[in-house]
């Protein structure tokens, strides 16, 4: 599963992302249970296909990929390794200790650090970024616009 990446954030494996709930191997049959990140995430179909490809290459004859919705995926399930990879890739990871996951109107999540210069002097440009799971920020110090993998 380490070989299967999120096609929209290719630096993350699906294990880093925390979407693999269970893997059952019986003889030449493999069953993988995953949780979608967002209901409409178009990457899920590609991920299902990649899981199938990897397991078929490993010699499994029957591969069953099942989706479970509950308990709902949360960014808390992302691994520390995954968060470090995101940071190095230029995407601010979900903040480790989230004070407010559902802020009130016009409130913003606190202190999103710029992945380039690590400044906390950053501004939200849009709550919805290049994919459903990200928001768009700008660093006021180094002027870098960047994606933030938002708390979910």
């Amino acid at each position: 599963m380490e070989e299967v990446n999120d096609p929209e954030v290719p630096v993350l494996s699906i294990l880093d992302l925390g979407i693999v709930r269970d893997v059952k191997l019986e003889g030449n049959k493999a069953t993988v249970i995953i949780t979608p990140t967002y209901s409409g995430c178009p990457a899920m179909d590609a991920i299902r296909m990649s899981i199938r490809m990897v397991l078929l290459q490993q010699g499994y004859k029957t591969v069953d990929v099942q989706t479970v919705l509950s308990p709902a995926w949360t960014t808390d399930w992302m691994t520390e390794k995954g968060k470090n990879k995101l940071q190095a890739y230029g995407i601010a990871p979900p903040t480790p200790v989230q004070q407010v996951c559902h802020p009130g109107l016009f409130h913003r999540e606190e202190a999103i650090a710029c992945p380039r210069c690590l400044s906390h002097h950053t501004t939200l440009i849009s709550e919805f970024g290049s994919t459903a799971c990200k928001a768009l920020y700008r660093c006021e110090d180094c002027k870098e616009p960047f994606d933030y993998f938002k708390c979910h």
Binding site: S39, P42, P71, A72, L105, I125, S126, L136, H152
Partner: protein, 268 residues
Amino acid sequence: MSHPISLINFTLHLADDALILGHRNSEWTGHGPILEQDIAISNIALDLIGQARNFYQYAARLIQESPQSEREGWMPFTAGGETTEDSLAYLRDGWDFKNCLLVEQANGDWARTLLRQFFFSAAQYYLYERLQYSKDTQLAAISEKAFKEVAYHLRWSSEWVIRLGDGTAESHARLEKALEELWKFTGELFVPAPYEQVLIREGIGVDFSLLQPKWEEKVREIFIEAQLSYPAERAGLSGGKEGRHTEQLGYILAEMQFLQRAYPGCEW
């Protein structure tokens, strides 16, 4: 399960609401007022269409599992002998769709689109908040997942209603016009259809008398910030949940279903 038909109808109603509003929002893709908001409304469209897929997949499964005698009624919506999420979305007619009238209304300007989103997201938020504890475990699971997404939609649309209402004279006037046009469709959100009444009794659906006060409180709270007055009369056009729609739905279906109807079963 004692009332599979009510459960199928309710699941289709939830799916249709999400699909039709998702489709309307997607009409903004490439036409948003600024790039960031174009992306935002397209993301919301994507979330809604994803929710619709989850509900349609479940409805398709319920139809497939129901006894042959009961499946007859759903046969027009099967492709190649099988009912699927796609056959339910692309092969049903206007009178089969069970979405609320609010979601099919034309986009109009940005104010109207935003106000429509705000009214709907507020209703969806309180509905999913409770539906995640439904006795039906699949509806509960879909709602649990979607609830987190809708929280973002509600916050985003609330902020825009405030921004426009408390903005310039022009933005305020446009929002007031949108309110005048859309208010009459909001009453239906809390009028239970017969299939909803059945499910409320069974602990599968959600009692609207619990949701409506929360929705009204939220709308009042945002309207105060947005300098809008809360309409005195309770508005009441309805029928969408039972397949009686405004002329708007026909235009959406004509565009959305054309390809599957002209070239049945085509894929790309």
